[in-house]
Amino acid sequence: MRFYTHIAGALLLYITFTYLTDYSNLVFGIFFACWFSIFPDLMDKLTGKHRGFGHSIFWLVPFLLVGFLNLGIAAAMIIGFISHIFLDILTTHGCPLLYPLRTKDFVCFNKKRRIKTGTNQEKSALSFILFLIVPFLILAILTNIGYWDNPSEQSLAFASQSNTINDSPNAVKNNFNLNFDVDDDTNKNITVKKVDENTTTILINDV
C-alpha cells in the first residue's frame, strides 16, 4: 500500500488505542505512530528488497526493548509497525511476517478480493479508514481532556455555578462530596473530595 494509507491506518489504530487505554499523550504518540507506519518500507528501501527484512515481525523485539526506556514511545512505534503489517497482509502479495526464517507470505482474503496497491480499491480502503478516524478522534480527544471522568458531577457543577449567590461572602461556589464517618467511641473522620481545584474556602458546620 502507499505511504498515505499506512499513515491513515496507523492514525486510526493509535487513536483507538489511546481511547481504549485513556492514554493522555495523544499528539506525541500520533507523531511516532505515523513515522513508524512507514518504517518497514524505509527499511526495505535500504536493504533493496521490497517486502523483505523490513516487514518481518521480529522488528517487534527492539521496539519492545524501547518500552523499558519509554513505554509511550514504544507503544506508538509498535502500533505504527503493526498497522503497516496488517494493511500489507490485505494486499495481493501479502507480507512475509517470518522473514528471514520463512519467506512465505501471509495473506488475507480470497485472491480476487485482495487490495491492489495504487488502485481504486486502496483509495476506497483509505476513505473508509478516514471515515472511521473522525468519530474516534473526537472520542479520543474527549477522553484526553477527561470529559468522561465524571460527567454527572460536571453537569451538576455547572448547574450550581449558575445558581451561586455572588453577593454573599459565604456563598458555596463549588460542589463537594462529603462523607462523614461518625463514631462516638473513636476519633471523628471527615473526608473531603474536591471537585474543582480552584476552591479556596471550605465551610463545615456542626459535625
Binding site: I89, K104, F106, V107, C108, F109, T143, P151
Partner: protein, 209 residues
C-alpha cells in the same frame, strides 16, 4: 527496460549455444522468435499439435520442398528427412502451449530433442499436471522467468480467519468501552454510522460520476 531485455536475449543466446532448452511461463515465444530468427535457423508455431502438420512446417523451412509433397510422407519419414537435411546447422523450434503435448507427439519431440543441433524454446500457461513422459521432457528445459511463475504459484499462508477474529475482538472492546463510558458516546458513534449509511446509499443511488 531495453537493457534488461537485451541482457535476457544475450542470456538466451548463451543458453542455446550451451545446448539448453528454454521454457517461459505465460509468455508468447513469438517475441523471442522474432529477435532470434536473424541469428539462428528458427521455426515458430503456436500449438505443438497436430504433430504431422508441425513436422511438415519444419521440414518445409529446412528443405524448401512443397507442402503437397511433404504431406504424402509418413511421420517417421518426415522426421528422418528433417534430421538428414538439417545436417550440422543449429535449429530452434519455438512453440507455445507446451502443456498440450500428448504421449504420442512426445515421442517425436523426444527424437528431435536427442539431436544435438535441435533446441526448443517453449511456453506454458496452464497449471496442469503433466504425465510422466511429458514431464521428463519438461525437465530438460530451463525455466527462464522463474520469478513470474513463483509469484503466481507461490505458497502462501492465509490468515483470514485470524484477522477476522482479531478485528472483531478489537471492535467488541471498542464498543464496550464506548458503551460503558456514556450513553451519548454510543449516540455519537451511531449517528456517524447512520450518516455513513445514508452517504453510501446516495453514492449507490447516484452511481459513479
Amino acid at each position: 527496460m531495453i537493457i534488461s531485455c537485451c541482457m535476457k536475449l544475450l542470456q538466451i543466446q548463451a543458453d542455446i549455444r550451451n545446448g539448453q532448452n528454454l521454457m517461459f511461463y505465460d509468455k508468447n515465444v513469438y517475441e523471442c522468435f522474432s529477435r532470434l530468427k536473424t541469428n539462428f535457423l528458427c521455426v515458430f508455431y503456436h500449438d505443438p499439435l497436430p504433430i504431422k502438420v508441425r513436422l511438415i512446417d519444419i521440414t518445409h523451412v529446412i528443405t524448401g520442398q512443397t507442402k503437397t509433397f511433404l504431406n504424402r510422407l509418413a511421420v517417421p519419414d518426415l522426421t528422418q528427412l528433417l534430421v538428414e537435411k538439417l545436417q550440422s546447422k543449429t535449429m530452434i523450434i519455438f512453440f507455445n502451449h507446451f502443456e498440450r503435448l500428448t504421449d504420442r507427439s512426445m515421442q517425436i519431440y523426444n527424437q528431435l530433442n536427442s539431436q544435438d543441433n535441435i533446441h526448443f524454446i517453449c511456453s506454458f500457461n496452464v497449471n496442469k499436471s503433466l504425465n510422466s513422459e511429458v514431464y521428463s521432457f519438461f525437465k530438460t528445459f530451463k525455466l527462464v522467468n522463474k520469478d513470474v511463475y513463483e509469484l503466481k504459484h507461490k505458497n502462501e499462508i492465509n490468515v483470514s480467519y485470524a484477522v477476522y477474529a482479531g478485528i472483531s475482538i478489537y471492535c467488541i472492546v471498542l464498543y464496550l468501552k464506548t458503551g460503558f463510558s456514556l450513553t451519548s458516546a454510543t449516540m455519537v458513534i451511531g449517528g456517524i454510522w447512520f450518516a455513513l449509511i445514508i452517504f453510501r446509499t446516495l453514492i449507490y443511488a447516484g452511481g459513479r460520476l
